[in-house]
């Protein structure tokens, strides 16, 4: 019930009695903001979250428009201009050891990093929420089996599994996405299951049953919507997690392979040049940091927008109180 308080409760007072002429078949109806809109209204007021959103949007834009933004091809080699300092020639951030433009590489890297982040999150959310929903809603054996699988998955350290698969099966992006999704769906599944365990006890579920809605109808039409916000929050964080995982694997040499490029790979490569050109390590690291920060700001922003609790520090109250008494109301 608490999340209902989260929604703004505008004046519930408005005319209760119908005051519409009897024979107008379809009276006009007002279209108030939906829950998404309400969340957005709150979200918009959150500076961090909005900054995150803008930053993420910028990065997405950059990755989509990479060919137009990057001044050079990311894999264009020119040994004659290797290791240029930032700003020399037309190289904003200089060039690397084989004369590739670092800025262009950063730009193109955002493609893979974001692609992995978003696709892993998407796959994870789809698999996780279906499994979680089914086991949460039906319970019983279905639940037992899925939850044992989740237990098993949770007991195998994810990174080990990632390393194993990447080392044994090879370092393809598709493998990476699959294995990252495969090792992270359990979180979503648990979350959704927990949610569904609660939701399935709601009376509207029983009401839906009473009017003859099928189980799948209840799961997908009724309950999934209600579980959607926490899922979205989780998915947002997962985007960040996947970007980090990619960078870790690439760092170990078990991720993206040249000539493709990702921030993790750039970081991994830059290690050799820490002594000569440490900035080469700083740029991709910063990019990861910024994007993941942006994503978590967004996730937390959504969470906060959903949270009915007031964020009042005592300090804020005291301040408010002071100004209140001053203005003499």
């Amino acid at each position: 019930m608490s999340d209902m308080n989260a929604m703004s409760a505008p004046n519930v007072q408005q005319s209760v009695e119908p005051q519409v002429p009897e024979n107008t078949p379809l009276p006009p109806s007002d279209k108030p903001p939906g829950p998404w809109k309400t969340v957005w209204t709150k979200f918009r007021k959150n500076g961090f979250a909005m900054t995150g959103l803008v930053v993420l949007f910028l990065f997405i834009l950059i990755s989509v428009l990479a060919p137009w933004i990057a001044p050079y091809k990311p894999d264009r080699i020119d040994l004659m201009i290797a290791n240029l300092a930032p700003g020399t020639g037309n190289h904003l951030l200089g060039t690397d050891e084989v004369g590739r433009d670092i800025f262009s590489r950063l730009v193109y890297s955002s493609r893979i990093s974001l692609f992995i982040g978003f696709s892993v999150a998407a796959i994870t959310v789809i698999i996780g929420s279906i499994i979680g929903a089914v086991s949460g809603y039906f319970g019983g054996w279905t639940d037992t089996i899925f939850m044992r699988i989740v237990d098993v998955m949770n007991s195998i350290p994810t990174l080990f599994l990632n390393i194993l698969v990447m080392a044994i099966f090879g370092t393809k992006i598709s493998y990476m996405i699959m294995i990252l999704a495969f090792t992270s769906w359990t979180g979503v599944a648990r979350l959704v299951r927990g949610n569904f365990l609660q939701l399935r006890e709601m009376q509207y579920v029983e009401a839906a049953k009473a009017i003859g809605v099928s189980s799948w109808g209840i799961i997908f039409r009724h309950l999934m919507r209600n579980a959607s916000f926490p899922i979205i929050v989780n998915a947002t964080l997962m985007v960040g997690g996947a970007i980090l995982s990619e960078s870790g694997l690439s760092y170990l040499g078990l991720g993206i392979q040249a000539p493709a490029t990702s921030w993790g790979l750039m970081l991994s490569n830059s290690q050799e040049f820490m002594l000569t050109n440490p900035m080469q390590a700083v740029y991709p690291g910063l990019c990861i940091l910024i994007v993941v920060l942006a994503v978590s700001f967004i996730g937390d922003g959504i969470r906060d927008a959903l949270d009915p609790r007031q964020k009042n520090s005592r300090g804020r109250l005291a301040k408010w109180r002071k100004s209140f008494s001053k203005s003499g109301i």
Partner: protein, 323 residues
């Protein structure tokens, strides 16, 4: 309680069994699998046959699995393919090293994070809380290995204050002070990541408890605020914290992998990466299984602790109107 214990243990065993199946299956599903690995190029087919036989790789997969499990149960983790060293000889020392690193950073993170989180819960959105929030954002968003590399550059290579890598200086093997000295940087990396999560957990767990009716009752009784927090709230708040820390174990065990690689820490994570590259399947299987055991055990302990601390669940049923 005993019944619950037995049941939980049986469950854990089932999970471990499934994990062993998954690990074994995955490794045998690998293209080439362990079989290919063992035959050096240029080896005559006859010699290869001998080699395969020696390693038991000519048996059927279920048979191989059975033998592996049988050996496992007698404590035999197998031997490396490459040089026939008992896997345990490699595994246990690295495990110990990982344990040292993990437990240090874990304990320190908890010592810092839990009180900090609790403090922040009493002054939500204050300066300290905002700081913790910021630290936790950065801790989550920063690739740990990158942070490690930067620390190395700054504190070790530029400032020359701290050792670059390893567990001990070569001439001070086993020296505790030297170990501490070497622990500083890798622990810092790990702590930053943990600190974030833990202080967040403790804070929100505590905040949640502080909103409960029984806290209001305690205050209504006239219990002083300090006692409200430390006596009434803390015990309740610790319960979910324990659970979460138990569930965090996998991350903890593996969390060090990248850090170990950066700091050349001779631990299990680094070993795993090396062995995955070298395809030492027996070691990989052993590490995966041992880690799983640790994780399952951790969860089990967390669960039991949970039962011990929380009388609500002691008797099985949740609080109903009639006991």
């Amino acid at each position: 309680m005993t019944e619950y214990l037995i049941r939980r243990i049986l469950q854990s065993i089932l999970v471990l069994f499934l994990i062993s199946l998954v690990t074994f299956g995955l490794i045998h599903a690998a293209p080439g699998g362990p079989t290919q690995m063992m035959i050096s190029p240029g080896m005559s087919p006859a010699a290869a046959q001998v080699q395969m036989h020696n390693l038991g790789l000519d048996k059927s997969i279920p048979e191989q699995y059975w033998i592996w499990i049988k050996n496992l149960l007698t404590g035999d983790l197998g031997k490396t393919f490459k040089n026939n060293i008992p896997v345990g000889d490699i595994l246990w020392p690295t495990m110990k090293n990982t344990f040292v690193l993990m437990s240090f950073s874990w304990v320190i993170s908890m010592i810092i994070a839990i009180p900090w989180g609790i403090y922040n819960s009493t002054k939500p959105y204050g300066i300290s809380d905002q700081t913790a929030n910021f630290v936790s954002y950065v801790g989550f968003a920063m690739p740990a290995f990158w942070f490690g590399i930067i620390l190395q550059q700054v504190f070790s290579l530029q400032l020359n204050w701290l050792p670059l890598s390893d567990m001990y200086a070569m001439d001070k093997q086993g020296n505790f002070i030297n170990l501490l000295y070497h622990l500083i940087l890798p622990c810092t990396v790990l702590i930053l990541a943990n600190l974030a999560a833990y202080s967040k957990y403790s804070r929100s767990s505590m905040l949640e408890v502080l909103e409960q009716d029984y806290i209001r009752t305690a205050r209504a009784k006239g219990v002083p605020e300090r006692k409200v927090i430390f006596r009434h709230a803390l015990r309740n708040a610790l319960i979910p914290i324990i659970t979460v820390l138990g569930m965090e174990l996998p991350t903890l065990v593996v969390g060090a992998t990248l850090t170990e690689s950066v700091f050349n820490w001779p631990g299990m994570g680094r070993l795993f990466v090396d062995m995955a590259r070298a395809r030492e399947y027996s070691v990989l299987m052993a590490i995966a299984l041992v880690t799983a055991v640790v994780v399952v055990l951790g969860n089990l302990i967390a669960d039991i602790l949970y039962k011990l601390v929380d009388p609500r669940v002691q008797l099985g049923r949740k609080g109903g109107k009639s006991a």
